[in-house]
Symmetry: C2
Subunit: 199 residues, 2 copies
DNA sequence: GACATAATGGGAACACGTTCCACTTCGAGA
DNA sequence: TCTCGAAGTGGAACGTGTTCCCATTATGTC
């Protein structure tokens, strides 16, 4: 348990463990991408990642944990991709819209994946609180960063605004996934909401 | 199928059918209220409503349909309860906050029920679109009505605002259910959001 | 190198949502 | 009243998430 390397953050243990974890998440994304939430079957993930079912459950205690962890990894990648480039737009609202568009287009390229990750996020219960919080924090940070790319610190008000934007974003995703609205409608709704909220 | 009475709206058929439907929804609410989403087990619902499992599935093609239908019924009752009384508050924002508080307190009295209904709503997929749309419409109408209790017609802008409020409300519910925030925090967040959005 | 401990593999078993089927009951029209 | 089709009953059976068990393999210690 308390082995050598711990360069990142958590007690992820050895590199073999980390590799296996990555393999599992890769398999999850691949299956989700192909057939959505229902296609992410635990036995299929285990097969594809070349681990036993019991091992999969040792890494991720439920299908929801697994999918939310996959979502968190995607978000981390999105954030670092965004961090690298300047965000287009003159006003905070413009930049937020840009970021949301960018993120959303990434998602609409892969509707199955979006469906799987969104539904997992929405279906999660308290036992997934840690992972959920991680995702929520990432989302808020992405938005506040779009609002004030230069600032390192943001005030309370900005966080509240960013959370509202995040709420609308999630609700819009749910709207798409549940077939209540098309992607275009969802994007339009988000834009309108941002113009209402951010200034 | 095309029997006698159809006094309300849909093709609900005979009164025996309607009674059975009500009994099923009652059983659903009772079980959800007691033990949340997981306690709403189809066999248990069928037992409690005194119908066979197959009959239950004839009325509601899945657990999610069942729970979303129950949510819709609760919303309809909420709306008619609200419609009866004047809403306190001098400004649109105040009235919206009042309504949300009222609705939310109703829900927080019964956290299990809230959890069950919220998770069902969030987990729904396209096949539940009809019921989902019904709930969304009710929610929007409740908010727009709070904004303009006197008006019968509302403009496009108001609907957009109401939808954002609804989004925040749903996201806040999810936040509670997933243990990301306490009820008090959720209410505070909603209030702040409404002040930002409605004027 | 031998050992203790933890991690993994393989697979059976269980729970609950869902489907299916054979049989019975109900209700409306001849 | 009789008949026929629709609706309901009871229960078996299937799929998938989840748990459990134990033999096997890695990992770190002496």
């Amino acid at each position: 348990m308390l082995s050598s390397s711990a360069p990142t953050s958590e007690s992820l243990g050895s590199s073999a463990r980390r590799e296996r974890r990555e393999r599992i998440l890769d398999a999850t994304i691949a299956l989700a991408s192909h057939g959505g939430f229902d296609a992410v079957q635990m036995r299929a993930v285990a097969d594809r990642a070349d681990v036993a079912l019991g091992t999969l459950y040792r890494y991720f205690p439920s299908k929801i944990h697994l999918l939310v962890a996959a979502l968190a990894r995607e978000f981390e990648r999105t954030e670092s991709a965004l961090g690298a480039s300047r965000i287009e737009g003159d006003t905070p609202a413009d930049r937020v819209v840009t970021v949301l568009r960018w993120t959303t287009s990434g998602l609409e390229d892969d509707p199955h994946l979006t469906e799987a990750l969104t539904r997992a996020f929405m279906f999660a219960d308290r036992s997934v609180a840690t992972e959920i919080r991680l995702v929520a924090r990432l989302l808020t940070r992405i938005v506040t960063n779009a609002m004030h790319p230069d600032r390192d610190e943001v005030d309370d008000e900005d966080v509240a605004i960013a959370r509202v934007v995040g709420d609308v974003w999630l609700a819009s995703l749910v709207g798409c996934v549940t077939g209540r609205s098309t992607t275009a409608e969802a994007v339009a709704h988000m834009e309108r909401a941002v113009r209402l909220i951010v200034r």
